[in-house]
Amino acid sequence: MKKMSNVPIKESGSLLRPRWQILLASLPLVLFLLIPLAGLILRVSPSNVMSTIMQPQVVQAIRLSVTTTVITVLLTLFFGTPVAYTLARKKFVGRTMLDALIDMPVVLPPSVAGVALLIAFGRRGFLSPLFGGLEIPFTETAVVLAQLFVASPFYIKSAAAGFASVNRELEHAAAVDGASRLQIFRTIILPLSLPAIVGGVVMTWARALGEFGATIIFAGNYPGRTQTMPLAIYIGFEIDLNIALVLALILLVISFFVLAVVKGILGQRLTVF
């Protein structure tokens, strides 16, 4: 009988548990991520949080961040899903170009994205004559557009991967049974790509929440109107470190909470992320 090489019998049942060497090698990066976050939590005192969280500028920043990121996610779902589907399913001339185009906003430095948005949608922008003088910069709309530009590619790529991974046989079987294209999408493709879709939504939301460079250039910085949490943290850092720390902590808590809930619902399907 052939003996299985390199697999000591005592380990064969625990192939899924990483060896201690792997754990040790993982430690540096994990600590590197953990220590700054822990430091942030420890540096802020609870009394500070309570007194700062009530300040109108802080409340405004939180409200603005939450509102704009939710809108961004909804817009991404609505407009991004067709793109993801196209990327995943069709083979056409220029598909590589489309793929690269979707990658661009991720590769571009955010401030460059901000300048680009200004050139396109500003008062003197390309599209300005079409709309009789756009008044988009310095508005909440601008905040959403900036977030949409930098964050939607995350969803599109993830959803595309999800759609592409669905077994065609299942779709053919459903078609044979008389299902329409829409039915196939709703009952087969969608449920099977759900982890990828949800993963993409979370990444888009997270990127939108942290968006700074494009926002401050395209939308500007005005409390209540365009000063999202990252902007408030940045300016706050230069005035009152406490405000910056508290906002940073709140951002941390919100993000963690959302991620925990989503992961909980997904039931730990790590392969997707």
Binding site: Q21, A25, L118, G122, R123, R124, P137, F138, I216, A219, G220, N221, Y222, P223, R225, T226, Y234, I235, F237, E238, I239
Partner: protein
Amino acid sequence: MQKILVACLLVWLAVAFQQKAFAQQTKEKELTVFAAASLNEAFKAIADAYESTNPSEKIAFNFAGSQQLVQQIAEGSPVDVFASANIKQMNEAVKSGRIDSASIRVFVRNRLVVVFPKENSAGIHSLRELSKSHLKIVLADKAVPVGQYALEFLEKCNRSAAFDSSFKQKVLDNVVSYEENVKVVLSKVMLDEADAGIVYTSDISMNAGERVGTLEIPEALNVIATYPIAVVRNAPLHEQAEKFVRYVVSDEGQNILGRFGFIPIK
């Protein structure tokens, strides 16, 4: 297993090499100067002149809003000289313990000016029109020196007989964005994204001046910006730092600053 060890060794070597390279860099005589954003062109010209008479010495700049520089200084950033656009931020640097108040000296002054896009589609021809409705004004944040000076200017207008007592409020109602330094304010006006902004006279002294329209602010209403400079306590290149500061306040340095629209102190 062996591969893991080799990988770790390589990482360690890379880090060690990086440390050595960094150490070597700081041994070279590169003076680190943190300066307010408005000093950008003028200080670069001063550095050019200084380096031509002192070829072995190099100067590296970090230009940003003074409030941002103070934060970096307070957090321990390596720096030799700090030039701020107002005394308030210099005092913040003193509070952080990194600057001796005794080493501070005023080296130049500046004034405010209103700028508007060349096309002037909003039709701004007088200061009073800054309060007319539906205008888009861009100012620097109040934490930024020029932002604070702008607020003082508006206060002066309120108290002046030539203006409505609600002038300042009306102007602030027109503000659409508070930027992090004076150069961003200027850029947004140049791009015609804003109808008006308040910057320093030094900002419009060179090329930028030809790309925007300007509205002078009369002496009685204008705010004199006072720029202090100081050598940082325990600066790595202390002697060189002192030399640089002496050059800035010398006739040559003051001449250069004057050329760039600043008000020399002599």
